[in-house]
Every structure is written in C-alpha cells, then in structure tokens.
C-alpha cells in the first residue's frame, strides 16, 4: 500500500477547499501541513504486513434502513435559511456567464 510521497501544496489545497490563504501565510501553513503529514506518516515505519486490515469498530452492526418512504420536510423549512429563493428553488449566483469569485 503506502501513501503517496508526493509533497502537499498548501496553495493548491487551499484552492481546492475554497479557503482564502494570504500569500504571507502560505509558507506557514505549508510547514504546518508537512509536519502533520510527517506525524501521521510515522505509521508507515511499522511493519503491518501480518496485521489484518481494520475496517472499523462497528463491523458486525450493518445498520441499515428499510426502503420505506418517510415524510419529507415542508419546503418552507427546507428553504428557510437560503440567502435567496423563488419560493420553490434555491437561487445561487449564475454558474455560467460570470467569473467564479
């Protein structure tokens, strides 16, 4: 297995997460992210070849629901916190025809 050894880029990651990062902060966050990954990466030093993969503690629970319809929310409630609606749909800034902010 083994995790990719590719270096993480704070700038790229912040862009993917839509988190604004001032240029001055980039080196700081970069070094913090790297030390976090180094910490987690220590597990790779262990020889785990003979250890069964661990899939989670609730392995035998299999919690599932029956395919039976339940009452949905009232649309007024669904739309209640929307910044903009037309009473039926959420309205968002146009996806096409305008630069993404």
């Amino acid at each position: 297995m083994g995790r990719s050894k590719k270096k993480i880029s704070a700038e790229h990651t912040s862009r993917l997460a839509r988190i604004e990062l001032p240029p001055s902060q980039i080196p700081v966050v970069q070094s913090e992210l790297e030390s976090l990954l180094d910490f987690v990466g220590r597990i790779e030093q262990l020889d785990l070849d003979s250890v069964e993969p661990f899939f989670g503690i609730a392995i035998d629970a299999n919690p599932m629901r029956t395919d039976r319809q339940e009452t949905s929310c009232d649309r007024t409630d669904t739309l209640r916190n929307a910044p903009q609606t037309d009473g039926e749909s959420f309205l968002v800034p146009p996806v096409f025809g305008k630069q993404e902010s």
Binding site: R65, D67, S72, E88, L91, P93
Partner: protein
C-alpha cells in the same frame, strides 16, 4: 501520413436504482415532483444530520454485480468525494473509492450480425453513490441566478465502469443494449434515459500504429449522451476528430491532459467543456458518518438465488429448445423478458418455434411499434395467439388471409373466430368449392389447353379466378380441387 488507428473506448454508466427512497434517507425518489419537496436534513446536508444506508439499494447493487460476473466486496465502505458545486449540498458526495461493492466482472457482447459477437468486455468496478441535485441555468443567458432543486440529491446510483475494451461506437452501443436488458430483467432500474435513470459517459482515444511504434492520443471524456445512438455517433465522431488533431499537432496521451467534451446531437459534434482534474483532487477519504458494510457469502447466495434467467441464457434456450436461429433469438430477447415469456407460452403450445417467431417479429412487433404499445398491453393474449396459429396449421385459416385476420384481432382485440367472422371469412364446404372450380374450368378452356400443353404455371391463373368469384376460396384447396377436375390427357 497513413497510420492504423484503433479506437479505444471505456464507458462509465450511472444507473439510478429502483428504490422508493433515497440512498441515505427516507425521502421519495419519484421523478417530476415540485422542486425541493422531497428533501430532509440528511439530503440537503444540514449540520448534524446522519445518513443511514438503504438496504434495498445495497441489494440491487449486489444483484447487478452478480449478473455482471463481479466479485462482491465483503467489507465495503463509504468515501467522501470532495468538490464544490451548488447542487452538491454537503460539499462532498458520498461515494466509494478504494473498496467498491462490485469489482472485476465482465459482459460478453452478443450481436449475431457482427464480428464483435462473443467479445468480452471487462467491468472494472461498480460502486454505489448518491446523486447530486439538479441545477437549472438561466435559459435566456442574461446572467440570471441558477435554480437548485435537491429532490434528486441523495438518489441512489450505481456507477458501472468498464475497462477500455470496446473498439467502436457500434460495440459500445451493443454493450449498452445488453446492459440495459440485464438491468431491466433484474428490475434494478427503470433505465429511462429521458428521466436520467441511465446516464452514459464515454472515454475515447486512439491507439496509433506508427513507424515510431505505438502511440496514443489524449483521452477525451464525452458527456451529454442522451441515447445509445448518440453514444455510437459521438464515439465515431471523436475518433475521426482525434485522428485529424493528431495529424495536426502530434500530441500524445503524455503531452496533453484529459479533456471533457460535450456531445451536441443536432450538430453531430463534440465541444470542449473543461480540462479534467485528476482524481487526487477530489481528496477522497473514508466517511466517518457511516460504518463498513459487511456482506457475507450467505447474503450473496440469497441474492444470487433471486436472479432468474438472464438475456444471454434466454437466447440459448430459444436456440436449443425452440430451435430458433441466433438472429431470431436475439431479436426476441432484445424485446425484454415479457416478450420472451409471451413467445415461450405460445411456442410451447403451437410446437413450431420458427412459425411463432416469424409471426411475432413480422406482424406482432410491427403492430406494437406502429401503435406504440407494449407487449404487456397487447390486445391479443397468448391463448388467442395460439388459437390463431393453430387455425393456420390446420388449414382452417388460409395463409393468404391470415394477415388480415391478425390485423383484425389486434385492432379489435378479438378471437380468431370473431375476426374471421367479421371479415366474412368462412370455410367453404367441398360442394361449394367444387362448384366454383367447375365454373372456372368451364369458362376458361384456353387456359386448360395451355396447362395440358405443359404450362403448369397457368394454373395460378385459374386459382386467381376462383378467388375472385369467392374470396373465401383457399388457394391451396382450390389448386388441389382443380388438379383433380382437369381433363386427363
């Protein structure tokens, strides 16, 4: 420059599973409801809401995997696929990354009229995921707001991914036809492309045999394919476009990123949409809100037991038990299980598979297509159809009138006797027939002379004349009678 180009195609098929409710909540999945009336805190991504898996969705996914000869993952889990788009309320889609529920299957292409028949297409994986909501963009293009409807958000999808084993648009279409037959037969999806229950993306590039060795063109993902015919056309177009592009710039798969192009069906071409992010950019990680799903061998066996004959097996049965040619078997099976059931019920009684197949293909299908009717709503039931064919077999109904009678049965939903009666078809008794033949012989001595001289074809002329005297005359019986009555040499 002349190079040998091979088209390389892999498909990604999103199948909406036939559940009443969504993958992780109890909201309805019915198509066409008023916007945002089938939503709840789970499917609009309200903080603190927790997903619980729909058991039926898992079962339908496993059933499909088994039908596609897949291995079923005993410990499958859920991953978050992170990206931002307004119709994705949580900022991630719950999907499956490294342990999909189904893996390593295959489907054999069946197309008796093509060399592709029998070719195996490998299925890389089939995983469960939730659908996103629906965005409606301002159609006037005036920069108005985009409307978001979350009714579809959370609907269960099975994404089936093939290996790049397909070699033409036609093969892709054949694969999709067979896949759709299987999905319909299993009742895992309604497969309605208009309502988005079956969505296809095609990954296409070319392998080029050049003097410098084999080269590959950059991969293009084609989206917006609204019918299997579009899939076929888009792949053929894209192959041609990539060859021209390669002749122009010589760019290979290593030199240019993957592109997404949209198919424009009316213009018959693809249009560049975006340069594809690679999969690492989705930053998949296991969803901590959901636990691992363990599937035991007993679970798999009980689902396997529910799978009845699949299309490939039904074709074999039609060929071996009913002695149909491969082409007939394919045409019948392509109409779906109900049609094949109808055939088998009729053929079991009529004991002549080919006769039944001919009538089903030539007349029944033509009528059903012309009236846009399904076999379920066929105006003539299997017993009436048996009765009709038995009348032909026993000469109670002459084959020259059979089509008229059949049309009458279909249009009025009546039995063969009723149809014959309303068309005024009665079987003549032998006295009437003899009288008609005698009259024709008396009136046409010159034709008799020709026949006696050896022009046996002229007898058809006499038969025609008996039929114009009484349209209930059976040509075969008239021929027999006339031959008996002709003066001997």
């Amino acid at each position: 420059m002349s190079v040998k180009a091979t088209i390389i195609v892999g498909l990604e098929v999103h199948v909406q599973l036939a559940t009443e409710t969504k993958l992780f909540c109890g909201c309805a999945t019915a198509f066409g409801a008023s916007p945002n009336t089938q939503t709840c805190p789970v499917c609009i991504g309200a903080p603190g809401a927790l997903p619980v898996l729909n058991r039926k969705a898992l079962k339908l996914a496993i059933k499909t995997g088994l039908a596609l000869n897949c291995e079923i993952e005993p410990n499958t889990h859920w991953d978050r696929k992170n990206y931002f788009y307004p119709d994705l309320p949580k900022g991630y889609q719950i999907s499956q990354f490294d342990r999909p529920i189904c893996r390593k299957g295959y489907l054999d292409l069946i197309d008796p009229q093509s060399v592709s028949s029998g070719r195996r297409v490998n299925i890389e994986r089939a995983h469960l995921e939730e659908d996103a909501g629906k965005s409606s963009h301002d159609e006037t293009m005036q920069g108005g707001p985009t409307k978001i409807d979350f009714n579809r958000a959370g609907t269960p999808l099975l994404e089936i991914v093939t290996q790049p084993d397909l070699r033409s648009g036609h093969e892709a279409k054949t694969f999709l036809n067979e896949l759709k037959l299987i999905l319909s037969s299993l009742k895992v999806s309604d497969c309605n492309m208009q309502e988005g229950s079956l969505r296809v993306d095609a990954n296409v590039n070319l392998s080029l045999a050049t003097q410098e060795g084999n080269q590959a063109t950059p991969i293009v993902e084609i989206k917006n394919l609204n019918s299997f015919r579009s899939v076929e056309r888009a792949i053929e177009f894209e192959a041609e476009r990539q060859l021209q592009q390669w002749n122009k710039d010589g760019m290979t798969i290593d030199q240019a990123p993957k592109q997404t192009r949209g198919w424009d069906d009316s213009k018959g071409h693809t249009v560049l949409q975006r340069i594809k992010e690679d999969s690492a950019d989705y930053r998949y990680f296991p969803d901590p809100d959901l636990v691992v799903i363990r599937t035991t061998q007993a679970d798999i066996e009980s689902i396997q037991a529910e799978i009845k004959s699949l299309p490939a097996e039904r074709r074999q049965i039609l060929m071996s038990r009913y002695l149909l040619p491969a082409y007939d078997a394919d045409v019948l099976v392509n109409q779906g299980d109900t049609f094949v059931d109808f055939f088998e019920t009729v053929a079991d009684q009529v004991k002549d598979g080919k006769l039944v197949s001919n009538w089903l293909q030539q007349e029944l299908l033509r009528h059903l297509n012309a009236t846009q009717t399904d076999i379920q709503a066929c105006p003539v039931n299997a017993n009436q159809f048996v009765d009709f064919l038995t009348h032909i077999q026993t000469n109670q109904l002459d084959s020259s009138r059979a089509k008229d009678v059949f049309e009458q049965m279909m249009s009025d939903s009546v039995s063969v006797e009723q149809a014959m009666k309303s068309l005024g078809i009665e079987n003549l008794d032998s006295e009437e027939l003899t009288a008609i033949c005698q009259r024709v012989l008396d009136e046409n001595p010159e034709i008799i002379a020709q026949i006696l001289k050896g022009n046996t074809k002229a007898i058809g002329n006499l038969i025609g004349k008996t039929k114009s005297l009484n349209k209930n005359v059976s040509p075969s019986q008239a021929r027999e009678q006339i031959l008996k009555m002709l003066p001997k040499h």
